[in-house]
């Protein structure tokens, strides 16, 4: 078959090109530009090569923030994934209560991030917060503005409250797709509750669970708004995660060069992890189709 050659067709691609350029390429390139330049003001820039990258890679401030970030993501994944699965397993499969559960579960997901932060900021305050007030009343010394551990607990509990539903809902969807015959066969085969989970439910959930973990990892790794509203990164630097540190550096101190280098490396880390997940997921699919 002869292909029609008409170069006017390129115009049809133009709108997409323009949108992508303005939404992604140009901003990203601006950041790249900042990361290899320095300035003494007056909008005069000069090239410094990879100096900012070297500084950032060896910066102890960034290492500490990265450490806190990894710890934070690890903790919330370790809590939200098992908890989400557990909730999904115990949700009613159909009927009125299934709908009630679904609505209740999706509520936290619908609240804007800064509102979530504000809710917990007030909820945890020792003077007027419901939680903080009663905790100190029963003799627990809780104050997230002074004590780094309390601050961490508050931020983690908040994230679990906000996002466990996502894991639970995704797993619930996975569970709903299991035909009843599987459970019946398991009963006939005298499978234990654990075997049912291990050999029927978990394999069927594997796909969505992986997506849930990926989403939760990426989101938690980039978390900014909620801890910023609650603790502002404090006390000290104890809850200063990568994004918070980045914003401090870029907007607070106006160190555009280091911040740009920092954000590029940050971006690459997330890209790398997502790629690993993607590879694992496609391999899983391939095995399925074999």
């Amino acid at each position: 078959m002869d292909k029609t050659q008409n170069n006017k067709a390129w115009f049809l691609v133009l709108p997409v090109l323009v949108i992508v350029a303005f939404s992604a390429i140009i901003p990203l390139m601006t950041v790249v530009n900042y990361s290899v330049n320095d300035t003494f003001g007056n909008n005069e820039f000069f090239l410094v090569g990879l100096e900012w990258f070297e500084e950032m890679v060896t910066s102890s401030r960034l290492h500490e923030a990265l450490g806190r970030q990894i710890l934070f993501s690890a903790i919330i994944l370790a809590i939200e994934v098992p908890l989400g699965i557990y909730i999904a397993l115990n949700m009613p499969k159909k009927g009125f209560w299934a709908s009630v559960c679904l609505v209740l579960m999706s509520l936290p997901l619908l609240i804007p991030f800064n509102v979530v932060g504000t809710i917990w900021q007030i909820f945890g305050r020792v003077d007027i917060g419901l939680l903080g007030h009663y905790l100190s009343k029963i003799g627990i010394d809780y104050n997230y503005t002074n004590d780094p551990l309390d601050a961490w607990i508050t931020v983690i509990v908040m994230d679990v409250w906000h996002w466990t539903s996502l894991v639970a809902l995704l797993c619930y969807a996975g569970l709903q797709s299991i035909p009843n015959a599987y459970y019946q066969a398991a009963r006939v085969d005298q499978a234990s509750r654990w075997s049912v989970f291990r050999y029927i439910e978990l394999p069927k959930m594997a796909g969505v669970l992986l997506i849930a973990i990926l989403l939760r990892f990426m989101d938690s790794f980039m978390i900014y708004t909620e801890p910023f509203v609650v603790t502002g990164g404090g006390p000290g630097n104890s809850t200063t995660f990568l994004s918070i540190d980045l914003v401090k550096m870029a907007i607070g101190q106006f160190d555009l060069g280091p911040a740009a280098a920092f954000s590029l490396m940050y971006f690459l880390v997330i890209l790398l992890v997502s790629w690993v997940f993607y590879t694992v997921m496609t391999n899983l699919d391939k095995e399925e189709g074999k």
Partner: protein, 358 residues
């Protein structure tokens, strides 16, 4: 192994059934002999699977009792009943190997490892999967998966019964025949009670010693394939079994003669007067086309199915099928149809009536 008794059993999917129409399974009393090969035959939605799930304990009946031998198991869990069941669509544990799949029911019952190994190999050879034992079950074809399901159903030797819920639906015709033969052989070898649900009469008639025909939540007949063919207890059985099914003609029954719109048809026995709807039923195999003897027939179509020909016609406004043996010439001089008198069954309100001496 045990005899299975259903006593006053009925089931409704509604929590508060208001009348008989709400029951998926109408009240029934039946005994399934130990070691019998039964087929549960009926069209979709007649309650076959419901009955099967009640026997296996996956479903609790709304009323009545289920007994295994002398033991009342109505409230017993499936696992306690020691039953094997194979479902319509393959159920395999994807992440396990074929070997682990087959061993799963045995391991769950804490059998000895050496015994499991031997038994799994034996079953694998039987279902023709011994070459694939160490493969993951994920990604196998549907019929391979169903063979694993069948294997898992048969792996336990001490089960009270093995239940099959249309297990060969997803299997291709050639393999179907082979597996059915194997099941039959297995039954002869081990003597398990087997209950086989199907809507395919060939499958039912070749597999079972006793065929149980269900219609609208009721067991309408339980009998040997021969009984079902010669003496269908209900017009549904007559119509459902056979290809094509039994011809049914509305008729007045007077003693040993039936009158189809006034035309006499001699019967093989004498019948008491029938109140309500009366019909005669005759298999196409026992109807013969003649040149004037019997009832007038209008021939609509002749179908050649190889072994014989099926003549589709009309008698007194009702469609009638006749099977003409191979070699018999069918031409326009054949204007009447004669029924073999002692093969005619008489039905009152769809149920068969037994005749007395002629």
């Amino acid at each position: 192994m045990a005899q299975i008794t259903l006593s006053k059993l009925a089931h409704s999917y509604f929590p508060k059934p208001r009348g008989e129409q709400d029951f998926a399974l109408k009240e029934m009393d039946h005994v399934w002999q130990d070691g019998g090969a039964y087929a549960l035959l009926g069209s979709s939605g007649c309650g076959k699977t419901t009955l099967l799930n009640i026997i296996s304990g996956l479903l609790k009946p709304s009323q009545g009792r289920v007994l295994f031998g002398d033991r009342d198991v109505t409230d017993a869990e499936t696992s306690e009943r020691n039953i094997a069941q194979v479902f319509q669509f393959p159920v395999v544990y994807d992440t396990m190997t074929v070997r682990d799949n087959l061993a799963f029911p045995l391991r769950n019952r804490g059998m000895d490892a050496a015994y499991i190994k031997a038994r799994v190999n034996q079953i694998a050879a039987m279902i023709g999967m011994d070459a694939m034992l160490d493969r993951k079950a994920r990604g196998l074809t549907a019929d391979a998966k169903q063979k694993i399901s069948l294997g898992r159903g048969m792996v336990r030797e001490d089960v009270n019964a093995i239940l099959f819920d249309e297990p060969l639906t997803v299997i291709d015709p050639h393999m179907k025949w082979e597996l059915r033969t194997q099941l039959k052989q297995l039954h002869r070898e081990f003597g398990h009670t087997m209950i086989y649900v199907t809507h395919d009469q060939t499958e039912a008639l070749t597999f079972a010693d006793k065929v149980v025909v269900m219609y609208d939540g009721r067991v309408v007949q339980m009998g040997t394939p021969e009984d079902l063919f010669e003496r269908p207890a209900h017009t549904f059985v007559g119509y459902f079994i056979g290809s094509p099914g039994m011809n049914l003609l509305p008729a007045d029954i007077r003693g040993d003669t039936a009158y189809v719109q006034g035309a006499p048809v001699p019967l093989g026995a004498s019948y008491a007067p029938i109140a309500g709807k009366s019909q005669i039923g005759i298999r196409p195999e026992y109807a013969v086309l003649t040149r004037g003897d019997g009832l007038p027939i209008t021939i609509r179509r002749v179908e050649d199915v190889g072994r014989h020909r099926i003549i589709r016609g009309e008698v007194a406004g009702t469609s009638v099928n006749v099977i003409a043996p191979e070699g018999m010439a069918v031409d326009t001089t054949l204007t009447h149809v004669r029924f073999t008198p002692d093969r005619i069954n008489v039905y009152a309100d769809d149920w068969r009536v037994e005749g007395g001496a002629a």
